[in-house]
């Protein structure tokens, strides 16, 4: 318990490295540090947004939490249990309560299975109910996500992108999960359809008391849907805090640049906005810079930033920042 909230998921010092092999002997010559030491909690019933640029490690982190990747280091607790300590069988049972919704509703549904087979597959795998009960459950789930249960015998190609994403949501809900990783669930959808799917996810959260890790790069949508936001850069969380605090009072120079770069659909605002244009691009995660990962693009980097990586610290109430410059400004002793 912290601030009266219960942590459903607790991530402690998690790293995920992917080895790079080379030569005839496929010797390991290095590693892509996709996730490089992150710790945070996801509270019951909240939506935690995970934002940052591609290559920052957001999806890898989401998948590592679900144990779809085995972490290289660190511990992930779900409902108080260390997922790494569970046997295969126990993990399978626990996984029923943690699910994922994928970005691409085209490749994430098997084109040769009917909607009914897709949505009931998790039930079959976990041996829930008999055939009749499963069919009834599929109808209920389709209805819940706003699809006509009469379409259960159709195939994915007969549906639009938004409808397919609803099928993916129905499948994720089949086993009554408490936690869902939504990995860019609306990025592949058309603008006019995105709001429909976001409303669905919010309605489901309210009625089923779901907890979301919402991975996204659309920062406007994140402000709408998330309670707290974690900003990731090159495998690390650089800033974490309540959504309104992060958007109104961003402290990390990367968060500031990221927010300033998002275009606003209002020409009068666009004219007045000061955009922070970052130099260069995200460095190679196999060869991150010495010191702070952001020092190659940071407009305010100074000496300590090139020596050691800053820690994520609660520099403002509930607002965690990993930056020497911000620490200097806010606390004044580095």
């Amino acid at each position: 318990m912290k601030n009266g909230k219960t942590a459903l998921v607790r991530v402690e010092g998690v790293k995920k490295y992917f080895p790079i092999h080379s030569g005839i002997l496929r010797r390991e010559i290095g590693a892509v540090k996709a996730v490089d030491g992150v710790s945070f909690e996801i509270y019951e019933g909240e939506t935690l947004g995970l934002v940052g640029e591609s290559g920052g490690g957001k999806s890898t982190l989401g998948r590592t939490i679900l144990q779809l990747h085995k972490p290289t280091e660190g511990i992930i607790y779900f409902e108080g249990q260390d997922l790494g300590s569970l046997s295969k069988d126990e993990l399978r049972r626990t996984r029923a309560r943690m699910q994922i919704i994928f970005q691409d509703p085209y490749s994430s549904l098997n084109p040769r299975m009917t909607v009914e087979a897709i949505v009931s597959e998790p039930l079959a795998v976990h041996k829930v109910g008999n055939a009749d009960q499963r069919r009834a459950r599929v109808d209920e789930l389709l209805d819940r996500v706003g699809l006509n249960p009469d379409f259960a015998n159709r195939f994915p190609h007969e549906f639009s992108g938004g409808q397919r994403q609803r099928i993916g949501v129905a499948r994720a809900l089949a086993l009554n999960p408490s936690f869902i990783v939504a990995d860019e669930p609306i990025s592949a959808l058309d603008v006019s359809i995105q709001a429909q799917v976001v409303n669905l996810l919010e309605d489901l959260q309210d009625s089923l008391n779901l907890t979301y890790l919402f991975i996204a790069h659309d920062l406007s949508m994140v402000r709408h849907i998330c309670d707290r936001v974690a900003v990731m850069y090159l495998g690390k969380i650089v800033e974490l805090g309540p959504t309104e605090e992060i958007y109104n009072n961003p402290q990390h120079p990367y968060t500031q640049a990221l927010l300033s770069a998002v275009p606003v659909p209002d020409p009068s605002v666009e004219q007045r906005r000061q955009r922070i244009i970052l130099k260069g691009e995200v460095p190679n995660p196999a060869d991150p810079p010495v010191g702070c990962n952001f020092n190659t693009r940071c407009p305010v980097a100074f000496d300590p930033c090139f020596v050691e990586d800053p820690e994520l610290k609660e520099l403002l109430p509930l607002h965690h920042i990993s930056c020497y410059y911000a620490e200097n400004e806010l606390v004044g002793n580095t």
Binding site: Q196, R223, H224, L258, A261, P263
Partner: protein, 317 residues
């Protein structure tokens, strides 16, 4: 299938026209038609004219067209690999264009390529001209493609979703770069996108397309401050904004989805999703008409005063 239907507009000297629409609305097809890049067959431009400096490009000979394409009118795309040749160095691809269109040769052409790479912010341009596209990152390829497109000093640049695949900080870099180059080179620009945000910052006028039709056109200020087509209004109302606190618990989406272009309704293509629709919308497709200074819409109702109802329901008289 009619991907684009009866679109007319003029692009003024030095003007940037934003064209906004969802996938499948015909915004890219219309641009490819201007450049005569629609594969024929199966594609066909059934009717229309594209005037560029008083010449009809749709009637121009292939030779003439080759001079215009990539010379006077250049195009950049979402995926730079559609315009970059993977087995040719970046430098060679630019020199090829300037040899053809500007008549530069040898050292002069190479220098032009280096100058262009420098202009778009590629570090060490003299070395990078010898690189192949795969040696560049996504953002760098986008820059190289822009360098190639602008190397011939075009008068018009058509940009088809050039920043859609990019991260937002890289998008900001590219938008900043292109608008600066537009101003220095005094180009006109057509910027095609689904992102109402990007267009707000760089266009002078905006046209909104839906299911192959132009549904609204106005100055950039007017269209955002005073959207008058129900589709434009619906899109703007459905978008959460990064600069605003959440005001409503739920978003306000446009219900339903775009019509099948193979099976368009006889009336207005937006009728099934429109909360303002009246009986007339079912039968007659409205034409683009002027409703105010520099503001045109294709709609039978006035969204400022018309009663609303659940979309998909039309009250018959």
């Amino acid at each position: 299938m009619n991907a684009v239907n009866g679109i007319s507009y003029s692009l003024h000297d030095g003007e940037t026209m934003g064209i906004v629409g969802e996938s499948g609305c015909g915004k890219s097809v219309h641009a490819l038609s201007i450049m005569r890049l629609i594969p024929m067959p199966p594609g066909k431009i059934v009717a229309g004219q594209v005037f560029y400096q008083r010449r009809d490009l749709l009637q121009a000979s292939d030779d003439e067209m080759r001079k215009v394409r990539g010379g006077e009118i250049a195009m950049i795309f979402q995926d730079p690999m559609t315009s970059l040749n993977p087995v040719m160095t970046i430098g060679r691809q630019i020199t090829e264009a300037v040899e053809l269109h500007l008549g530069l040769k040898g050292k002069a052409a190479t220098n032009r390529a280096i100058e262009m790479l420098e202009m778009v912010g590629i570090p060490e341009p003299a070395q990078r001209v010898k690189s192949y596209p795969h040696e560049f990152s996504g953002g760098m390829r986008q820059r190289a493609m822009i360098a190639m497109a602008l190397s011939t000093e075009p008068t018009i640049l058509i940009a088809d979703e050039p920043t859609t695949a990019l991260d937002v900080t890289i998008q900001a870099q590219i938008v900043d770069l292109v608008t600066r180059l537009r101003d220095t080179l005094e180009m006109s620009m057509i910027w095609i996108t689904h992102d109402l945000g990007v267009v707000a910052g760089l266009a002078d006028r905006v046209q909104v397309m839906y299911a192959g039709f132009l549904v609204e056109r106005a100055s950039v200020k007017e269209i955002y401050a005073n959207p008058r087509h129900p589709y434009t209004l619906g899109l703007l109302n459905s978008l959460p904004r990064v600069d605003r606190r959440k005001t409503h618990k739920r978003l306000n989406p446009i219900p339903g989805r775009p019509p099948d272009l193979l099976d368009l309704p006889p009336g207005c293509p937006f009728v099934s999703r429109c909360p303002f629709a009246i009986e007339r919308c079912l039968e007659e497709n409205p034409q683009l008409e002027r409703i105010a200074d520099a503001h045109e819409i294709a709609c039978w109702v006035d969204v400022r005063s018309a009663p609303t109802h659940e979309a998909g329901v039309v009250f018959l008289s």
